[in-house]
């Protein structure tokens, strides 16, 4: 028998929900039954970032991953691997390129180009046990800052590292802290923005679930730097597991004296509270967020004054994003020069992206700034599902745009993405293939923004609604070529006149798709789009599968006789297309 094993069982929300059963408990039970307790320990960890294949179990020291592990596999893993030292090949992670099972995690392509700073502990420590965080030098950064540095020196360190905010805007964190620190008065606040409302983004959730202490530690460092003794985490109520883990982490940190009065006997006091969001996307915007924390409607206000001057309770406040915070303890421990040596000229360090859509390795990746989209999608992401043709990738959510094939080799950082009409945003990357309709996608985003518009300013409230109506008209084949000009005009006007970032960036999905996929808009405008599905009679074998899945029951025919779609009723949902075993359905 091998010396001593550790089983890391993923306990992120993603893996947790796939199988309601508790894998960690299952392992413990089987291990106890087999009396192997002294040879193996079971640890619950945060997300490994390849959630598409969860639940995941990692075996140390063998450095090997089992994927899609079910309750019924536990017995075999314990018996074969732990007891007899044999790898259970059928559960191994498979490389999407070579289709070969991978025995060593380090050899996996998905990890090769990655560089983990913000996610450094996710998947490696038990987020509900502070001693594991301490074991990986947790709270050492806070201790060293309190012992050896003045607040001004901390600000200087952050400035030197050139860390920029990961919440979307990319504002230099050191400068933000400096402004806040310089304000008069001694009532100041640190706020962690964990509202993560962009559809398709889940990196902040993963950090909070996988490594909550790094955020708490960084908030305390921020408090020391700007002169605040109270911090708040504004987290969306859609993230119950993250909230639960944060509460546990705060309690443990208080117990150990890392939060509360007189931290590390330095005379510095700092504590943190949680505030919940109630389902309004605009509350991710910092001024709206602050109003929401004050129990008001979450409407943004004009800047200046910036929160660093007049924020929560009208006091100087530094609002920073979860991922921004997660970088900070690592910067303190390794030095500003180390951090500034990673990345591109103007964007330092790494960025976490959430890969979703039609890609093989769905999940989180963290790469140095300046990595190209091609590397992210093909080398790390494992390429397109079913080898379909890549069409575009949507980045930056409802404020961003699409990036087509010709820009796949752009090294990504804040500036380069803006230049090609998209933006970093929070880091959601949604990969689209040839089957996806770009105009429908733009309509989807506009539907989202017009719904989430807080209604305070006219360009956003009415303008986005009108844009949505035009897109709706176009996609129903009721539009006209003039609509394209109106749409573009409207988009530019809203961009220039809206009050907050939501409205100012709401037209981006339309503008960028119009730039790269104008022909698809034109096809709709000139009504050249065939907008229903139809059956190729020669190919149809009459299996009835399509008729059974059609939600509007517009397919008729009897067994073994070619079927027909009533195109006046077809809603173009595509269900029949997916169901057909012989490719006899023609797409619009």
């Amino acid at each position: 028998m091998n010396s001593k094993y550790t089983l890391l069982v993923c306990d992120g929300a993603s893996c947790k929900t796939t199988h309601k059963a508790n894998l960690a408990a299952g392992f413990k039970k089987v291990i106890a039954e087999k009396k192997l307790g002294e040879f193996v320990s079971v640890v619950k960890t945060g997300c490994f970032g390849i959630c598409g294949q969860g639940p995941i179990v990692k075996v140390l020291p063998d450095d090997l991953l089992y994927v899609s592990v079910k309750q019924t596999d536990i017995e075999e893993i314990v018996e074969e691997h732990i007891k007899n030292g044999n790898v259970v090949k059928r559960l191994l992670y498979t490389d999407p390129f070579t289709q070969e099972p991978v025995e060593k995690q380090k050899g996996k392509k998905i990890y090769q180009k990655q560089f983990r700073i913000a996610l450094r502990n996710c998947g490696l420590i038990n987020p509900e046990d502070i001693t594991e965080y301490i074991a990986v030098r947790g709270y050492e950064a806070l201790a060293s800052v309190l012992a050896d540095k003045t607040p001004i020196e901390v600000v200087e360190l952050m400035k030197k590292s050139k860390l920029r905010g990961r919440g979307g805007g990319g504002f230099p964190t050191g400068l933000k802290w400096e402004f806040t620190a310089k304000q008069p008065g001694n009532e100041k606040y640190v706020i962690c923005n964990a509202d993560e409302g962009d559809p398709g983004a889940f990196m902040d959730r993963s950090v909070l679930e996988g490594d909550p202490h790094s955020v708490l530690e960084a908030m305390a460092i921020a408090g020391y730097a700007i002169g605040a003794s109270q911090g708040y985490i504004y987290v969306r109520a859609e993230y119950p597991l993250a909230i639960h883990r944060l509460n546990i982490a705060m309690e443990q940190a208080r117990e150990y004296g890392f939060l509360g009065k007189n931290i590390f006997s330095s005379g510095f006091d700092f504590d943190i509270d949680i505030r919940l969001g109630a389902g309004a996307f605009v509350c991710g915007e910092e001024t709206a967020l602050i109003h929401s924390m004050e129990g008001q409607r979450g409407e943004p206000t004009k800047k200046p004054p910036f929160p660093s001057v007049s924020g929560f309770r009208k006091k100087p406040t530094s609002v920073n994003n979860v991922e921004t915070f997660a970088n900070i303890p690592a910067i303190v421990l390794n030095g500003a020069d180390w951090f500034a040596s990673i990345g591109t000229e103007n964007s330092k360090g790494t960025k976490v992206f959430a890969l979703a859509g039609k890609i093989n390795n769905i999940g989180l990746v963290e790469v140095p700034m300046g990595t190209t989209l091609r590397e992210i999608i093909y080398d790390i992401g494992g390429g397109m599902v079913n080898n379909k043709e890549f069409k575009a990738v949507q980045s930056g959510g409802p404020s961003g745009g699409v990036i087509p094939k010709e820009h796949l080799d752009t090294p990504i950082d804040y500036e380069s993405l803006k230049q090609i009409g998209s933006m970093m945003g929070s880091g959601g990357l949604i990969v689209l293939d040839e089957d996806d309709d770009i105009v429908q996608l733009a309509k989807f985003y506009l539907d989202f923004t017009q719904d989430e518009s807080c209604g305070k300013c006219t360009p956003c409230r009415i303008g986005t609604k009108r844009m949505y109506e035009i897109l709706d008209r176009l996609t129903k084949l009721e539009g006209s070529p003039d609509d394209l000009d109106i749409l573009e005009d409207l988009a530019v006007n809203i961009k220039n006149s809206a009050l907050c970032g939501l409205g100012q960036s709401a037209p981006n999905p339309v503008l960028s798709t119009m730039e790269y996929f104008k022909d698809e808009y034109e096809a709709y405008a000139y009504r050249k789009v065939k907008h229903t599905y139809s059956i190729i009679t020669d190919k149809c074998i009459g299996c009835t599968k399509c008729a059974r899945v059609c939600p509007v029951e517009c397919i008729s025919g009897s067994v073994k006789v070619p079927h027909v779609i009533d195109e006046s009723l077809c809603i173009a949902c595509g269900a029949c297309y997916t169901a057909c075993p012989v490719n006899a359905i023609e797409k619009p």
Partner: protein, 152 residues
């Protein structure tokens, strides 16, 4: 009473309004906030009723009409939309005989949309009360609903 109990946990400051509303609505079985309750909350926090109403109307989480015992929320995020090759909402609408934002006659289910739940890697996703269901297929949805019909 439920509301009294919840109010007493929070300081009588305007700051607490959203937290109170969230906790109360979640705990109450019909999942909505009535006019009488608005009054009580306003008087506890010493703010106007109009203020409470304006906050309730702003946030999508808050409801002012009686809802079903179970609230089904289907994710409307883009990843769920592009990944799903079935129409989740249509399937549920057909199963329950209601449209989005409606409640079944027996007050058992309400169907709603939700914004992204951050589980896009397991798309398509829906939530019933505080349980999350991922990687949905038509059969899975039917089985889940059947379970709720029988056991809950």
């Amino acid at each position: 009473m439920l509301l009294d109990m919840i109010l007493n946990k929070y300081p009588a400051q305007e700051d607490s309004l959203i937290e109170i509303l969230l906790e109360f609505q979640d705990a109450k079985s019909s999942h909505f906030i009535s006019e009488a309750e608005v009054k009580q909350i306003a008087s506890y926090l010493q703010i106007s009723e109009a203020k409470v109403c304006s906050v309730i109307s702003f946030y999508t989480f808050f409801r002012t009409e009686q809802k079903g015992q179970h609230i089904i929320q289907v994710c409307r995020g883009v990843p769920c939309h592009v990944t799903a090759d079935i129409n989740i909402v249509k399937i549920i609408e057909k199963e329950l005989g209601i449209k989005v934002d409606e409640t079944t006659e027996n007050k058992k289910f309400t169907l709603e949309y939700t914004s992204c739940l951050g589980l896009c890697d397991k798309a398509p996703v829906m939530r019933i009360d505080d349980k999350i269901y991922t990687n949905l297929t038509e059969n899975k949805i039917k089985a889940i609903l059947a379970e709720y019909r029988v056991y809950n």
